[in-house]
């Protein structure tokens, strides 16, 4: 029993490169079948071209870095011991917890900001209502066992999950009078409170929170520390997930 034209069109519409014997037989059975198959293949080439996006050059390199991390999570260095080592050695500017990928929080911030910090800084939330953005902020923060107060939420123009030295965190871009600045919330990472970290053309003010920490990042001309009170008052951490 040979395929009728309608069946043939449905088949090649679902699987344009189908080359089984029955399909080929049908294709060669009449000119309209041949034309339909050719049209389907032409459309398919356009579809492939439309879907063909280049991967960013640095992504493969970033992925391969994953294999440099230890297989098992290392234990946290007790903070007091870490702090004393910092003082004794005098070579490290920040207390940090051992991480999978980064040698220090500075290295993490530099690496993460280089990855997409500048790119997301320019993101516009014009196509998202304030309500949707606030709702999304609430959901992301809740999943991190935290919340952002109204004052902070009202300034957020972009938010997404991001990796941190210890698990998942949140990457926010907030509006300020001095232009957009970035806040990275790191729920599992402890830092030296009030420390200023510099990397590339940026600097970051570190805020240690009850649970976790935040880095306020801006250009060196931006007064990143001016957001400290907002962050400290608005970022509530260690909430019980409901």
């Amino acid at each position: 029993m040979s395929m009728n034209f309608s069946e043939f069109k449905k088949l090649i519409g679902a699987d344009p490169w189908n080359r089984d014997s029955e399909t080929l037989r049908a294709r060669h059975s009449a000119p309209e079948f041949e034309k339909a198959a050719n049209d389907a293949e032409t459309f398919e080439r356009k579809l492939q071209s439309a879907l063909h996006i280049e991967m960013p050059a640095d992504l493969l390199k970033d992925i391969k870095k994953i294999s440099h991390q230890p297989a098992q999570r290392r234990n946290w260095m007790p903070l007091a011991l870490a702090a004393s080592l910092v003082i004794a050695v005098g070579a490290v500017s920040m207390v940090w917890k051992q991480s999978h990928q980064w040698d220090s929080v500075e290295a993490y911030l530099a690496d993460h900001y280089a990855h997409d910090g500048a790119a997301v800084l320019g993101h516009s939330s014009d196509n998202i209502s304030e309500q949707d953005l606030a709702e999304m902020t609430g959901k992301i923060m809740a999943s991190l066992n935290a919340s952002a107060g109204q004052q902070l939420t009202g300034r957020i123009k972009f938010i997404k999950f991001c990796p941190t030295p210890e698990g998942r965190g949140a990457h926010m871009v907030v509006n300020t009078d001095q232009g957009p600045m970035t806040i990275i919330f790191m729920p599992g990472t402890q830092v030296t409170d009030g420390e200023m970290v510099e990397f590339d053309q940026m600097h970051a003010f570190m805020v240690d929170l009850e649970h976790g920490s935040a880095a306020i990042i801006g250009r060196r001309s931006q007064p990143v520390e001016s957001l400290e009170t907002l962050v400290r008052n608005s970022l509530k951490t260690g909430m019980v997930e409901t």
């Binding site: 356009k46 879907l51 996006i53 992504l59 959901k139 997404k160 990796p163």
Partner: protein, 175 residues
């Protein structure tokens, strides 16, 4: 040591073989470059941790897609808005396209972004990853006939959308 080196080699081979297609897939489901990169990195992070459980290298592609889809559903799908910055990334052979071909491609991309997930997902698995209908059926947990129907309808919807946008000149509103 040998085992660690071997694991790293296997991981790097997977990354080289599949990262591009996974990024492409991620980009088309979340429409945002930064999020797509995060999603792919998170996928490979999980893959690295669970690499010892992958016994059949031939199953690696489906395994990675499953990890990515789960990760997307778990953390991204309901919590992240649909940004639309596909236009900011590079499309292969962009410069080689004639203006009318570029217009068609842009209309198609717009149509793909508008497709419901039930049509978009099998289409991406077929076109981006080269999955057969049987493989898509297994990946998505739906029957092969349902896959065939959704693939057919996906293409029909794209054609209708292209015609509609082309006729009404909506190309200026792209993305």
């Amino acid at each position: 040591m040998t085992s660690d080196t071997d694991k790293t080699r296997r991981f790097n081979e997977l990354a080289e073989a599949y990262s591009t297609d996974l990024y492409r897939y991620a980009m088309w489901i979340c429409h945002n470059d930064a999020l797509a990169k995060d999603l792919v990195q998170e996928t490979f992070l999980r893959a690295w941790r669970a690499l010892d459980s992958l016994k059949d290298v031939g199953a690696a592609k489906s395994w990675l897609i499953t990890i990515l889809r789960r990760e997307y559903a778990r953390t991204f799908e309901r919590k992240v808005p649909k940004f639309t910055d596909v236009e900011k990334v590079v499309v292969v052979d962009d410069d080689e396209l004639a203006p009318d071909e570029r217009l068609e491609r842009d209309l198609l991309r717009r149509g793909i972004m508008k497709l419901d997930a039930k049509y978009r997902d099998p289409l991406l698995l077929q076109v981006v990853f080269g999955h057969s209908c049987a493989e898509i059926s297994e990946q998505l947990g739906i029957s092969k006939s349902a896959v065939m129907t959704q693939l057919f309808r996906a293409r029909e919807k794209l054609k209708v959308q292209m015609q509609r946008d082309g006729v009404t000149g909506n190309v200026h509103e792209l993305f």
